[in-house]
Every structure is written in C-alpha cells, then in structure tokens.
C-alpha cells in the first residue's frame, strides 16, 4: 500500500515532468525519446524506493537530483528539446515538491500555484500593457501556456493587482521578521517607534517604484466595489504586521487608534507618491516624516490633556469638599 502510494507520487511527479516534455512540439521524435527516458526512470526510482533509502520527505529531492543527472545524459540525444525542457524545469521546480502534500489537496495547490506563477510572470509586462488581461496573457505565454489560460482569472486585472499586493506584503513581512531576528540576536539596535514606522512604510512604498507609472490604474482597480473587501483586508493585515513588529502589544482602544493612524499615514503617503516628481521621491519621505511626527505629537498631547483633565477634576473635587466643610454639611449630628 505504501509502495503503491509512493509509486503514484512518483508517477505524479513524472506527470509534472512529462507535461514539460509535451510543451516543445517542434522536435517530436526527440521528444518521444526523452519521454521514453522518463518512463524508464520511473521503474528505476521504484527500485530505489524498495532498497534502503532516506525517508520520504527527501524522496522528491532524490528524484530531482536524479532528473538532473538524467537530463545531463540526454544532452547528446536531444539538444533543442532539452533546452526547452531545462527552461521549463527552471520555471516549474515546485510541481514535483508539492506532490508530497497528499492526494486530496495536490491538484488544487498546483492550480493555485500555477496561477500565482502566471501572475508573477505577468508583472514584468505591466509597464508595457498596464494592469490588464493583455499583461496576464503575455505572462502566460512566457510560461509556455496559451493565452487562453487567462480565462482562469475571473477577476482579470483585479487578480493581478491583488497578487502583486500580496507579494509586496509578504516581502515586507520577511524583511521585518529578519530585522526583528537581528535585534533578538543582539546584532542590531532596536529602533524608536517613529523611526521603525517610517522605515517600514518607506520600504513598502518603494516596492511600487518600478510600477509607479501605472499605479493610478492599479489603485482604481482596487477601488472597484467587488475588489474593495480584498483590498481592505490586505491593507489591514499590512498595518497590523507593521505595528506588531514595531512592538505593539496593546489590548485596549489603543489597538484600533494606532492602526487607524497608520492606515491614514500610509494611504496619504501613497497618494503623495503618485504625484511626486522629486529625485528618489524625497518629497514623499519628507511628507511621511511629518505625518508620523504629527501622530507622535498628537499621542503625547493626548496624554497631556488626559493628565491635565485628571488634575483639574481632582482640584474641583477638593474645592467641593472644602465648601461642604465650610457650610457644615459634613458634620455629623
């Protein structure tokens, strides 16, 4: 049963590779020889599985190395198709690894992964075509898929923009986590909150610089009614992540006020960035500095007001008590 499972998994990995072979259609006789080579590889693998071998978690890596060794052998037989296969292999390394994760979930993961890869490839065509289906079609074509596969994206350009935003957010989280680790290890100084916020927002907004020409179009796509829930969700997770890594652990009203403040700062800075024409967006970063200072000032002012208020109330209470004493109301008869 286990051997059957492993065999099926190997077969599925094969399918990932065999569909790689099917893509270059020009040289069919060479393709078929390559594919026959793959079919031969499968029984060889099965033998490997039966002998004492490393645990299944690394079986995909063994297969991957095996494939690379195998493809080196095939160099003599099929040069053109091998180059195509190697290029495809570089762009599809995930498929064989993902097959480990279990039968039920496997295909859905591969579909979404494929969609993610198409969208990532489409990003490089955005300066040319804008945030549109043409960019996605060009991206699909670089992966060797027909442009008809853009039909998978029901939301069209919205999918592309949301994918880009998700990618930027995860990049930012990685950077912040890395910095946090540095601080934990004592290799870096912890930054003041205002500086931390400023750096985080700047890093995040800098990711838009390559697409700044077409970013207004992307923002308008995000404001479409059916995209608003998703874009708000991404914005809120972004702000939450930044505050978390800034060290905020508040559990009261502060949680909401802090995130609201940062959301306001982020949105306004983004809008300023769209119209900024100064070298390296200096004006934008100055604007960001000022807004963060405003918020910090407001926070300290709020505290002052609160303490002043308390002091005033205490004073009034004291005055009332004294009056009561003077008029004799406090005396006990």
């Amino acid at each position: 049963m286990a051997a059957l499972l492993r065999g099926v998994r190997a077969g599925r990995a094969l399918r990932g590779l065999s569909s790689v072979v099917a893509a270059p259609t020009a040289t069919t006789p060479q393709c078929s020889s390559l594919s026959r080579g793959f079919h031969r590889a499968a029984p060889r693998l099965q033998d490997d599985f039966k002998s004492d071998k490393p645990p299944p978690s690394s079986s995909s890596t063994t297969f991957h190395e095996h494939y690379q060794a195998h493809s080196a052998e095939q160099d003599n037989t099929a040069t053109a198709s091998h180059e195509g296969a190697a290029a495809e292999q570089a762009s599809r390394p995930n498929t064989s690894y993902q097959d480990q994760s279990g039968e039920q979930g496997e295909e859905y993961e591969t579909e979404e992964q494929l969609q993610a890869r198409i969208l990532t490839a489409a990003l490089e065509f955005v300066p040319l075509h804008g945030w549109s289906m043409e960019a996605i079609a060009s991206g699909a074509e670089t992966l060797g898929l027909s442009s008809a596969s853009t039909g998978m994206f029901n939301n069209g350009a919205g999918d592309l923009v949301l994918h880009f935003i998700t990618q930027c957010n995860s990049q930012l989280t990685e950077i912040l986590a890395e910095q946090h680790k540095q601080v934990q290890l004592g290799q870096a100084e912890p930054k003041a909150t205002a500086d931390f916020l400023r750096d985080a927002v700047e890093t995040r907004l800098r990711m838009y610089i390559p697409y700044i020409e077409s970013w207004p179009q992307a923002m308008s796509i995000l404001l479409l009614p059916h995209n608003i829930p998703d874009s708000l969700k991404h914005l809120s997770t972004l702000v939450d992540d930044i505050w978390y890594y800034a060290g905020d652990r508040s559990t009261d009203m502060n949680w909401y006020t802090k995130r609201a403040a940062l959301t306001g700062i982020y949105n306004t800075t983004e809008l300023v960035m769209l119209q900024d024409s100064s070298p390296d967006f200096e004006d934008t970063w100055n604007f960001l500095d000022n807004r963060i200072q405003d918020v910090v000032n407001m926070a300290s002012t709020a505290k002052q007001v609160q303490s002043t208020g308390e002091a005033v109330v205490q004073g009034l209470m004291g005055a009332a008590f004294t009056l009561k004493n003077l008029t004799g109301l406090n005396q006990r008869r």
């Binding site: 059957l4 499972l5 099926v8 077969g11 599925r12 094969l14 399918r15 065999s18 569909s19 072979v21 099917a22 893509a23 259609t25 393709c31 078929s32 594919s35 026959r36 039968e103 039920q104 295909e107 591969t110 579909e111 494929l114 289906m133 043409e134 079609a137 699909a140 992966l143 060797g144 898929l145 027909s146 442009s147 008809a148 596969s149 853009t150 039909g151 998978m152």
Partner: protein, 327 residues
Amino acid sequence: MSASMRLLVRRAIRLSDTNIQISAAARAAARAAARSSSCRCFSDAAEDRSTHFGFETVPETEKAKRVYKVFENVAQRYDIMNDAMSLGIHRVWKDMLLHAMHPQPGVRLLDVAGGTGDISFRFLEYVRSQQERQRRRAARSMQTPSWQDISNNYSTEDEDGPLESRAVVCDINKEMLKVGKQKADSMGISTGLSWVVGDAEELPFDDDQFDIYTIAFGIRNVTHIDQALREALRVLKPGGRFMCLEFSKVTNPVLARLYDAYSFQMIPVLGEVIAGDWKSYQYLVESIRKFPDQEEFTGMIEDAGFYCVQYRNLTGGVVALHSGFKL
C-alpha cells in the same frame, strides 16, 4: 479505505490519460484501459453495446448515422429554426460564450460541431474589433509621432500577420458545413476561417494545435462523449481552454415545468411547420433530456484531464456553459 483506493485508481487513470499526449503508441492502450475502467462491459461485437437516441435505444454504430441524417435534413433551415425555437435567445447565449472566452488577439479557435459557423463568425468579429480598439488606442497615444516612431511602425506592420487569429470550423456533417460556407460568403468573411469535415471523437488534427476548443450545442449528439473530451484535450495547447455550451437541467421547478411543456408540445410542431420535419426536432428535444446534468458533466470533463472546470447556468439552467483548462 476503499474510498481512498478508488481515488488512487482514479488518479492512476488520469495519469494514464495524460500520458496520451506523449506517446502515440500508448494512446490506444490507455484509451482501451480507460474505457474498460469506466465500467462498460467490454464485449467483442460493438453492435452489442447500445446507447440512447432521444428516448429510443439504438446500437451505438447506428446512432452516428441517425444523427447525421437528422442534421442533413435540418441543415437548410437550421438557423431559422434556432431563432424560432429559442425566440432569438440563442444569439444571447452564443454572445455570452464569446464574452466568457474573451479571446486575445492571435489565438486559434477550433469550433467543433460548428456547422453553420455561428461561434466562429462571432469569434472573428470579437477579435477584430478588439484589435481595432487596440490600434486606435495606440494611435491616440501617438498623436505626434517622431520620425523614429514612424519608422518603427513601418517595421511592425509586417508582424501583424502572425498575430492574425484563425478559426477552424469542424463538423461531421457536410450539409451543415455547406450552409455555413454560404453564410460566410454572404457575410463577406473569407480570411482566417477554414472548414473541415471531422468526427469529434477522432479529430483530424495534430496534438497541441489550438488555443480554444468550443463545442456549442453539439456534444449531446456525440456517441462517446468521454472520447470527444479526450480528443479535445489532445488537440489543445498547454494552457488551452475547453468551452462547451449545451442544454442542461433547469434548476427551478416551475421553470422546468414550463420548459418541458414548451419543448415537447411546441418545438416539434414548429419543426413540422417551418422545416417540415417533426421527427428530427422530437429527437433534438429528447436528446436534451438524455444529456447528463451540470455537475455530472463537470465530473466527466475533469475525468478527461481538464483543470479549473467551472460552469455557469444561463437562462436559469436551460443552457450551461462549461469551461476547463489543459494545464
């Protein structure tokens, strides 16, 4: 346990199905294996196997012939009957198919059971108007071109050739294709369109040829639907899209009653009055009832090896638009 074994067997079959793409030798064997696994008793004589022709049961070999005769008879009045029976709504359905397709310029379409060419004409119109719009947008953004831009334009005009979209109409019935060709001539469409006689179960094309495969109101007439689906998978390029427009089960019970009454009472009468053929239209209406419903057909498409299979009900389930991708 048995459920997981069944799942594994299903995956193994799909594996054997996808390997069809690679080696021609394995194709016949795989198809035989898949056919035997679909729980049909595999007898030597093909005449022993029977299938439905409307509400009749006929041997499989006979069904293809009888379907051919049906469409041979109705070919001349096919379009008029379509308009009469569906009150013109079939045009909306076909337009919605095109909008869901949203073809990019430069794609190749295979319209199977295309007959009179409705889908292909719409496809060519859509792509050409899109190209027009793109050219107009490009022209608008280049109101004052420099000499460099103008010389670039001259060099890129030759490249427009390969970007030309092409549609191939394939039908098993020569009469329907004849009618379609006449329509094309009268509409003045000549470039980018070809007419091929072929059987959906055995397409006369190489592997990985087409970006989009459509079959509109044709797949219920095919004797072996799974074979047609596998052929569709074969001729599509990787990333290609399979789209099927077909009559399906109406979900709303009130609408279902009305629809049934209309189909069985009105349509054969219309057929007799307009086309002079009651029996063909009786067959047409009965074949709709014999076709699997939306979910079952989605399962069949997935079994053939397509991914991201979805369907959309049009007109409350009277027509369903199924779409799948070869990934």
